[in-house]
Amino acid sequence: MTSVPKAPRNAPRESPQPDPPAASDLATLIRTHQGMVWRYLRLCGADVHEADDLLQDTFLAFFTRHPQSAELACPAAFLRGIARHLLLASRRRARRAPPTADWLAAVDQLAAADPHAFLDTRLPALQDCLGRLSDRARQALEWHHVEGVPRREVGARLGLGDEGAKSLLERTRDLLRDCVRRRLGLESQP
């Protein structure tokens, strides 16, 4: 067993404040996490412009209050915490209804369960899985989830009742979720 040599008593003490990270480190960190923060804010309830503003504020708060933060091993959860705080503060200032605590808790639960939930890597996986769906299922999904067509109307367009459309959408979502999880390596291949 090797012993750790002790520093001499008169040796200069290590600086408690590490040097600020270089701009290239900051840029890398922002580039890596900005999409994640933006998508998290969107799911929490921020609109596109609000999420854009708060995304910048989140990184500013992150860097200005914690100069050594670029060296943190896992900044994602910390960034989401700041973003969430800023969204609530922004809603309070604007006197707009904040997202409910239940909704935020459910979003955080999603983030904890799926580490790719807000990452760029999810998009190509989803794209690939969409291509594996039947035309009918993909069309139903796009109408309902992208164009906001009500479920009953989706059913009418496909010659289904409301329950039929509900069932089709649920099955499609399950297929898609399982496929994406396999693509991202979150579950073993069947």
């Binding site: 408690p16 404040q17 600020p20 701009a23 900051l26 840029a27 922002i30 580039r31 900005q34 999409g35 933006w38 998508r39 969107r42 799911l43 596109v48 854009d52 995304l55 910048q56 990184f59 500013l60 860097f63 200005t64 209050r65 100069p67 705080h85 609530l88 503060a89 922004s90 309070r92 200032r93 006197r95 707009r96 209804a97 904040p98 409910t100 605590a101 239940d102 909704w103 808790a105 459910a106 979003v107 639960q109 999603l110 939930a117 760029d120 999810r122 998009l123 989803l126 794209q127 969409l130 999904l141 796009e142 989830h145 992208v146 979502r173 898609l176 979720r177």
Partner: protein
Amino acid sequence: MKPTSSDVHDRHLSLTLEELAGRVNAPDRVDAILRRLAAAPATHRGSPGRVRWLAAAAMLLGVGITVAVALSRPHAPARESAFAAAPGELSPGETAPIAVMQEPAPKPKPPTNQTPDHPKGTTPADLAAVRSAEKMLEQEQKLMARLREGKLPGVELLRFETLAEWKYSKGLEGMPAPVKGLDGQKVAMLGFMLPIDEVKDIRHFLLVQSLWSCCYGTPPDVNGIVRVELPRDRPTDYSFEPLLITGTLRVGATVEDGYVVDIYQLHADSIVVLQ
């Protein structure tokens, strides 16, 4: 209605599909953030942790002193006169209009967020929250004084501490008899509004002791929340300020989709926004 995990997953899928369809794209803000960071005051970037701790301690000390002064001067004439400006709202049995009444606003404070009492980096929202909490404590003392003087017969100031002093368990087992006995009583409560569905024409909302505890710290348990019900024909709008609500308290579990969503309901007769 409480959102389910499925609601969040559906919304998540919608947002991801929108992005995939090219309707919206995650922005690239590297340059903008670096520019803003370079322009940020150097004091923020290099502020040592020790200074921040001292600043936080100073703020806590300030809040403590404010609370201590409020507790030691329950009959302060200035506060009394401010409250007396809105008489009548607390008369038992009176069906006062539910329209939100504004207390006379105190002298405006300078809109600054960098006072010597607060740490650097404190945002206006942080300060507003501190001031709201202080204001609520002050109003609580004021109301207690009026109750002690017998000016509001038949009305009891009900504190969240009283409602939440027991550990909630299914079936309301363990609820103390005095709390059960509040069912049907006329009470006055101070707290903050937490909207459920809407922000205008609100007919019901949750009353919580502190917006901090609901939104930044540990959320209150179900016995730390009161659902306020307004008459259908007299809705109100969202307010960020502390509220004084009088009405009839009901004690009993409300179950939705198999979940207990609240156990206290306050059927409001009047709401006063404490500004």
